[in-house]
Symmetry: C2
Subunit: 341 residues, 2 copies
């Protein structure tokens, strides 16, 4: 037995609607000694993502549900603090499936956790959960592979100030597109326009999305990268161009529904416009992550690419911090810090 | 003034829900003499299609709405009975935009009517409004270009006994796919299995589509060619495979809605399965119609391709005959015969 105690959040019950405190079990357990081939990782930052809500549901999806009583699945970055594997040395920083817990112990080669080394000198650790992590990979490959932007086209992205949206817009700008974000509140809109360089941003909480699209997309919408679903998806569908591409990345407005998901009533706009709606799951691009990290890392180094993180401290805040996502309260990529760097 | 009188149906009012008799104006007017460069076509068969319902609505679509008091738009085949153009001779059979009327008069080169010669010795005239006409072109290019079937894949098509569905299923069989139809009633299901060679057919009026898909698509659904929308689209979405393609051709279940269109509540299955939903409009393939006619004509000549038409006589039946489409009462491609061959 090591001397560490490991605080964890485990799934206690499958939520109906918003995850409640009673859907979680907070556990503190001793960390076992590591065996040959294993490592002990101290989690520093945990990525909080809308997709986590889906993992809490029963049923077939692109990944198996988190089991009742299992540590909640999450990506994270941490530091190797004990190693009996030649793959990682003590002091290495790693990114992988830490789960919502302070320590991860297991085989260095574990395929589910899939740890890989990251370099804190190239970019601050939180960036590895943002543009250089899953949200960035999702944005990069979703936009480029599914959306296929061409210079001069108009790209609209919802959740524009969120982890995925920030990167979608900036990659689209790099490709010569006109980029219009949709975000909640003036601060977020100002941020994506003034700090990220979007051409415009529509504040869906205070303004009409329909009017905003008319004003800011005078030539229609060629690509819509959808993180939210619901009414915003339906409104954008009325403004798409011929041969438009709609990238279905998520539907955060629908994840906590207790009623059936609202399907896009305007989907026949796909027919009228010979347009395409296509889903993306980031794991399909695992073999190509390096390509995206290299490209976005280069843009970052050149000062052409910025991201913002919203870091909340303390593992004990997890249930409430997660809810910030569904209430639109995070401003930038939401990260839970559970140890000092 | 020629000696002919031309009975026509003109649009009197934009329908709310089902088109009513009062939405039509039945007119009989003399046919004018033709001028240099013009032809007079006697309509024999008029194509009745679900798309006609959309043309009656105000609003931006893939084609301008039929104007109030305008002759209802329709495709048809007929015979040239007078010509002052070198392009067509008296006695030529032609296909084009006759409208719902007994006679068409205008420039031989008219781009909207877009008449072209057809050969009644190669195939009976009604086939030129079915597999060798718009429904066939829609099916052929929608399946092959948008659906991209590969041998061994499972293709599901709704409206399977209808004009488009018949051809979709048979082209898919030619490509080596497993083909499962969805149609209303035992007779239609028996027809598509026994006469058209589909592997199975689900009778949505009497059986559960969900159970039928489980039974007849044991390996899931790779391509769904949707002519109906509504609940059937939603049910198929629960059974699609990774990288499935959903071809949105129509949504006949929704065309007469007086409430908003029902969007596909299960559209997030596109995300889970990295699948694609894409619209098709046949006019985009106009330059390639010859390719499809040649291929399907060859299959027909070899006895490998069959189609069924449901021919109703008398232009005065038009308002009621059109409604057969929305009530699922036609059995095969619905055609209005307004003159003898």
């Amino acid at each position: 037995m090591s001397s560490y105690r490991n605080q964890q959040y485990r799934l206690a019950a499958r939520p109906v609607g918003n995850p409640k405190h009673s859907d979680w079990k907070f556990v503190s357990e001793p960390v076992r000694e590591i065996n040959e081939g294993e490592i002990l990782v101290q989690t520093i930052y945990i990525s909080l993502d809308p997709a986590m809500r889906g993992w809490m549901n029963e049923g077939k999806s692109y990944i198996r549900p988190v089991a009742i009583d299992e540590v909640m699945r999450a990506g994270g970055v941490g530091k190797v603090i004990a190693s009996r594997s030649s793959r990682f040395a003590v002091g290495d920083y790693v990114s992988g499936g830490t789960g919502v817990q302070q320590y991860w112990v297991g085989a260095a080669e574990d395929k589910t956790a899939a740890f890989y080394k990251i370099d804190p000198r190239l970019a601050p650790l939180p960036k590895y959960l943002n543009a250089l992590g899953m949200p960035g990979m999702t944005a990069y490959f979703g936009l480029l592979d599914v959306g296929q932007p061409k210079a001069g086209e108009t790209v609209v992205v919802s959740g524009a100030a969120g982890a995925v949206g920030q990167t979608v817009g900036q990659v689209a700008k790099q490709k010569g597109c006109r980029v219009v974000g949709i975000a909640g509140g003036k601060d977020k809109c100002d941020f994506v326009v003034n700090e990220l360089g979007f051409d415009a941003c529509i504040d869906y909480k205070n303004d009409s999305v329909k009017d905003g699209l008319k004003q800011h997309c005078p030539n229609g919408v060629d690509i819509y990268f959808d993180n939210v679903g619901g009414d915003i998806l339906d409104t954008v569908l009325t403004r798409i161009n011929m041969k438009a591409r709609i990238v279905i990345c998520g539907a955060i407005s629908q994840y906590n529904n207790t009623t059936p998901v609202k399907g896009p009533a305007n989907y026949l706009s796909l027919l009228v416009n010979r347009a395409r709606m296509e889903g993306i799951v980031v794991f399909d691009y695992a073999a190509r992550y390096g390509e995206a990290v290299a490209q976005m890392g280069q843009w970052m180094a050149q000062g052409q690419f910025h991201t913002r993180e919203d870091i909340v401290k303390g593992i004990e805040t997890f249930p409430d911090t997660l809810m910030m996502l569904f209430e639109g309260k995070n401003f930038g990529k939401l990260i839970l810090q559970v140890a000092d760097e």
